[in-house]
C-alpha cells in the first residue's frame, strides 16, 4: 500500500500535472482556431465586448438566476464551484506540498474555513447529483461522463475531508489518502479532455458563443430564400 502511495505522490502526480499543462496548452491552441473560425463565419464580425463581459459576469455570479426557476440548483452550483476553486488551491497542506516541490508558496485558508468550504461543496455536489437524477430533462441529457465526473468530485472532497480529520475516518488512513490522491489526479488528467475543460475554455467559449448567434455572411438572404420570400424587404 505504501508503494502505491509513493507512486501516487511521485510519478502519477508528475504525470497528472504534465497532462494538465500540455493538455491545457493544446486546448488553448485549438481554441484560437475555433475563435478564428467563428469570427470568419459570422456575418456581423463586431464583438460586443462590454455587453458580453457583463453577461459573462452574470453567469459567474448568478444573482439574476436567483429569481429563476431552479434556485436550489443555482445555489448548489455556485457553492460547489467556490469550494472547488478555493480549497484545492489555498488549503494549507496543498500549498505546503507545492512549496516543498517547486519552492513557491502563497497565503492559505484557515483550517476551519477550508473545512466549512469542503462540507459546503459536498452538500452542493449532493444537490447537483439529486438534480441530475430527479429532474426529467437533466436525466435524459446525462451520459456516463456526467456521473463519473460527479462521482470523482465527491470522492476527492470526501477523502480530502477525511485526510484532514483522520479520527472521523472509518477506513485506514493510507486507504483514504490513496483514494484522495488518485481521485484528484484523475480529475487533473480529465480537465483538458472532458466537460471539465470549461475550466480552461470559459473565456473562449463565451466569445465563440456570442459570435455564434450572428448570421453567417449572406445568411439573412438564405433564410428569406428558404421561406420563399427572396428579395423582399425584411
Amino acid at each position: 500500500m505504501n508503494t502505491w502511495v509513493a507512486w501516487a505522490r511521485g510519478p502519477f502526480l508528475y504525470l497528472a500535472f504534465s497532462v494538465l499543462v500540455v493538455g491545457a496548452v493544446r486546448q488553448w491552441v485549438l481554441a484560437i482556431g475555433e475563435l478564428a473560425r467563428a469570427h470568419r463565419m459570422a456575418g456581423d464580425q463586431r464583438v460586443p465586448w462590454r455587453w458580453m463581459f457583463k453577461k459573462s459576469l452574470g453567469w459567474i455570479v448568478p444573482v439574476n438566476a436567483l429569481r429563476g426557476t431552479r434556485i436550489p440548483f443555482t445555489i448548489a452550483s455556485a457553492v460547489f464551484h467556490a469550494g472547488m476553486l478555493l480549497v484545492p488551491l489555498f488549503l494549507a497542506g496543498h500549498v505546503a506540498l507545492i512549496e516543498q516541490g517547486i519552492g513557491i508558496g502563497w497565503p492559505t485558508l484557515p483550517a476551519a474555513a477550508a473545512d466549512a468550504l469542503t462540507l459546503a461543496a459536498l452538500a452542493g455536489l449532493g444537490v447537483l447529483l439529486l438534480y441530475r437524477l430527479l429532474e426529467r430533462a437533466a436525466r435524459f441529457l446525462s451520459g456516463p461522463q456526467d456521473y463519473l465526473l460527479l462521482a470523482l468530485c465527491i470522492t476527492a472532497f470526501l477523502t480530502g475531508y477525511l485526510v484532514a480529520h483522520p479520527e472521523a475516518s472509518p477506513l485506514p488512513f493510507t486507504v483514504i489518502y490513496l483514494g484522495h490522491l488518485l481521485s484528484a489526479e484523475l480529475i487533473l488528467v480529465l480537465i483538458p479532455f472532458s466537460k471539465l475543460a470549461h475550466a480552461l475554455l470559459f473565456a473562449s467559449t463565451r466569445i465563440v458563443w456570442e459570435l455564434g448567434w450572428h448570421f453567417v455572411p449572406g445568411g439573412g438572404e438564405k433564410v428569406r430564400a428558404a421561406l420563399g420570400k427572396a428579395g423582399e424587404p425584411v
Binding site: Y14, S18, V22, R26, P192
Partner: protein, 612 residues
C-alpha cells in the same frame, strides 16, 4: 470510406513525435549526460550512427533517382523521382536536426561556416551538408510551386533544374564518401572489419545501393498506405538495378577484405565478426540473390520484404561503423537509453508526417492528392464524428485531424515528460576535468584522485608538454596510466621502446644511426634522446626528470614520492572534509590480504575515490 490504415499510421507517428518532444525538452534543459547513455569514451552512439550516418545514407535515394531520371533519362522511373528528392530533402533536414541533439554545444553549429578548419574531415562533411541541403531545397521548390499562381517563378525554377540536379549529384558524391573519410582518420578506433582505405568508396557505393532500395521501400509503403495499385513495372526495374549495384558492393567489399588479409577475421566467431556477417547478409547477400529471381520481381511482398531487409542491413552498417565497432577499441559498455531511441524514432516520425503533409497538398506523386480528393468526396455523405468519451463534435477535414492527432501528441508528451530522467546535470566530464577541475581518473575502473591538471601543465612547460603524459602512441586517445612507465613495483624501468625505434629507423640497417659505427653497443657512446627529439618530446623544464634519462622510478617510489606529500597536504584542508586522505588506507583500500595487513592500523574512513 475513410482510410483507417493511414489514420492509424499517422497516429502512431504523432505519438512517437510527442515522446521525442518530451525527451528534447529534457535533453536541451539538462544536457546529454542526464538524458543519454553517451559518455566521454563513447561520444558517438545511436544518434550519430542512425540519425546522422544512417540519415544521410537513407537520403541517398534523392541523388540516385535524380541521376537515373534526369541524367540517364530512364523515364520509366519518373514517378519515383519527386518523392525520392522530397525524401532526401527531409532526410537531410532530419540529419541537421539530429546533429543539434548530439552536439554538446548545439548553439555553435554555425561555426563551420565562419571558422574554417580546412584540414578537418568534419569541415568537408559540414559544408557538403549545408550546400546539399540548399540544393535539395531548390530541387523541391518546383514541386511546391507547380499548382500555385506563381507560374513565372515556377518556370524559372524548372529552367534551373538541370544544373541544380548536377550540382546535387556532385555534392552527394562528395558527401556520402566524406562520411567514410571521417572514419578513415581513426584507424585505432574502428574495428578492422569495417576499417579500410576504401572506406570513402565503400560508403559511396553502399549509398547508391541504399538509395535504390529506399526508393523501393517508400514506393511500396505509400501505395500500401494509400491503398493504391503499386507500380510493379517500375519496382521490378529498380529491383534489377539494386541487384546489380549490390553485387558491385559485394565484390568491392569482399575483394577489399581479401586483399587486406582480413577474410579470416570474418569467421573468427567474435560477436563483432558475427555482427558483420549479419549486416552483410541483410544488406547485401540476401537482397542481391533475391532480386535476381524474376519470380521475386513479380511479387509485391517479396520486393517489399527484401528492400526493407536491405535498408535495415545498411542502417546497421552505418551504426556499426560509427559506433559499435569502436566499442571494440574503447572497451566501454554502451547501450542506448530509451531516450535515444525516442529521439531517433521521433525525428523519423516527424519527417514522415511532413512528407504526408506535402504529398497530400502538392503534386509530389498522384497518391496523396487523389487520397485527399477521395476523402473530400466521402465527407459529403459521412456522419459527423464525435470523440468517444468527451462527446464533442470533432469537426471535419483538417480540424478533425488536428483534434485527434494533437490529443495523441500531448498524451505522449506528458508520458514522456514523466518518464524522462530528471537528475542533476552532469558537469564532471573529461573535457571539464582537462580545463580546470582537479580530478584524474586512475586505472580502468571508476577511481579518481585529486590532480591539479593546470598546475602540472604549467610546470611541465605549457601546452607543448602534453606528450609528456598523453603519449601519442596510445591507442584510442586514452591517457597514459601510471603503470605504463612505472612498470615494476620495486625497480626502476627503462621507458625506452627499442623495438619501435628500430622499426621506425628502417630495421637492422639503422643501428649505426644511434649507436655509432664500429663502436661497442653500450649506453655511453649512444645518442641522447634530445639529440633527435629536441622539439617534439622534450619539454623545456620537465617535472619528471627521470624521463630524460629513459628510466622511470619504481611504481612504489613514484606513487609514494609524488602522491603522499600532496595527499598529506590536502588532508589538512578542512574544506575538503577528507581527514584520512594522508593515510595508507586512502589508496590501499581493499585489495589483497597482504595489503590489508599493512593498512589495517590506518583505516581510511574515507577514500580518495569518494571524490568522484
Amino acid at each position: 470510406m475513410e482510410n483507417r490504415r493511414l489514420f492509424l499510421f499517422k497516429g502512431v507517428m504523432w505519438i512517437l513525435a510527442g515522446l521525442a518532444a518530451a525527451v528534447a525538452i529534457v535533453r536541451f534543459s539538462l544536457g546529454l549526460g542526464v538524458s543519454t547513455a553517451l559518455s566521454d569514451s563513447t561520444p558517438w552512439g545511436l544518434w550519430i550512427g542512425f540519425d546522422v550516418m544512417g540519415g544521410v545514407a537513407l537520403a541517398a535515394g534523392g541523388f540516385v533517382m535524380a541521376a537515373v531520371v534526369h541524367i540517364f533519362h530512364r523515364e520509366r522511373y519518373h514517378a519515383a523521382a519527386r518523392p525520392a528528392i522530397l525524401t532526401a530533402f527531409l532526410g537531410y533536414g532530419a540529419v541537421a536536426v539530429g546533429l543539434l541533439f548530439d552536439l554538446g554545444l548545439p548553439w555553435n553549429i554555425w561555426h563551420a561556416t565562419i571558422y574554417w578548419n580546412v584540414r578537418s574531415a568534419l569541415f568537408e562533411v559540414a559544408w557538403c551538408v549545408m550546400l546539399y541541403l540548399t540544393v535539395l531545397a531548390l530541387e523541391v521548390t518546383p514541386t511546391i510551386l507547380e499548382r500555385t499562381p506563381f507560374q513565372k517563378t515556377y518556370r524559372f525554377f524548372v529552367k534551373l533544374a538541370l544544373p541544380i540536379m548536377i550540382l546535387g549529384i556532385m555534392l552527394s558524391t562528395l558527401h556520402q564518401s566524406s562520411l567514410g573519410t571521417m572514419l578513415l582518420i581513426m584507424p585505432f578506433r574502428v574495428h578492422p572489419l569495417w576499417y579500410s582505405h576504401l572506406l570513402p568508396e565503400l560508403f559511396f557505393v553502399s549509398a547508391i545501393c541504399l538509395g535504390i532500395v529506399m526508393v523501393m521501400v517508400e514506393s511500396t509503403v505509400t501505395s500500401w498506405l494509400y491503398r493504391r495499385e503499386p507500380e510493379m513495372e517500375m519496382l521490378a526495374g529498380l529491383a534489377r538495378l539494386a541487384s546489380i549495384a549490390l553485387a558491385c558492393y559485394f565484390v568491392m567489399k569482399s575483394a577489399d577484405l581479401l586483399l587486406q588479409g582480413k577474410l579470416a577475421t570474418v569467421f573468427d566467431g567474435t560477436w563483432l565478426a558475427n555482427l558483420f556477417i549479419l549486416e552483410m547478409l541483410l544488406s547485401t547477400v540476401i537482397p542481391m540473390v533475391g532480386f535476381a529471381f524474376p519470380a521475386v520481381r513479380r511479387s509485391f511482398r517479396g520486393m517489399w520484404f527484401l528492400a526493407c531487409c536491405s535498408v535495415a542491413g545498411f542502417v546497421l552498417d552505418r551504426i556499426n561503423a560509427s559506433g559499435l565497432s569502436q566499442v571494440w577499441a574503447t572497451r566501454r559498455f554502451y547501450f542506448p537509453e530509451w531516450t535515444e531511441f525516442a529521439i531517433s524514432l521521433g525525428i523519423v516520425a516527424a519527417c514522415v508526417l511532413v512528407f504526408f503533409f506535402i504529398q497530400e497538398r502538392f503534386p509530389v506523386d498522384p497518391h496523396g492528392l487523389e487520397a485527399v480528393e477521395a476523402e473530400r468526396k466521402a465527407r459529403a455523405t459521412a456522419l459527423p464524428a464525435f470523440a468517444p468519451f468527451a462527446q464533442v463534435w470533432l469537426g471535419e477535414g483538417w480540424r478533425k485531424s488536428a483534434k485527434v492527432y494533437s490529443f495523441l501528441f500531448v498524451l505522449a508528451l506528458a508520458v514522456g515528460l514523466t518518464a524522462a530522467p530528471k537528475a542533476e546535470p552532469v558537469v564532471d566530464t573529461r573535457a571539464v576535468r582537462a580545463v580546470g577541475a582537479n580530478i584524474l581518473r586512475i586505472g580502468p575502473g571508476p577511481r579518481y584522485v585529486y590532480f591539479d591538471h593546470k598546475k602540472h601543465q604549467d610546470e611541465a612547460g605549457g601546452r607543448k608538454s602534453c606528450a609528456l603524459c598523453h603519449h601519442l602512441h596510445q591507442k584510442g586517445d586514452v591517457g597514459t596510466p601510471c603503470v605504463v612507465c612505472h612498470e615494476n613495483l620495486f625497480l626502476p624501468t627503462s621507458v625506452f621502446n627499442h623495438d619501435a625505434h628500430v622499426s621506425a629507423l628502417a630495421g637492422n640497417d639503422s643501428c649505426a644511426k644511434c649507436h655509432g659505427k664500429g663502436e661497442p653497443i653500450r649506453v655511453t657512446p649512444t645518442k641522447k634522446c634530445s639529440e633527435c627529439h629536441d622539439k617534439d618530446m622534450m619539454a623545456a623544464n620537465p617535472v619528471v626528470k627521470t624521463f630524460a634519462s629513459k628510466w622511470a622510478p619504481s611504481y612504489k617510489d613514484a606513487m609514494h614520492t609524488m602522491c603522499i606529500p600532496c595527499h598529506e597536504e590536502k588532508a589538512k584542508d578542512v574544506t575538503l572534509k577528507l581527514p584520512n586522505l594522508g593515510r595508507c588506507g586512502a589508496c590501499h583500500n581493499g585489495g589483497t590480504e597482504s595489503e590489508k595487513a599493512y593498512t589495517a592500523e590506518f583505516p581510511a574512513g574515507t577514500t580518495a575515490g569518494a571524490r568522484s
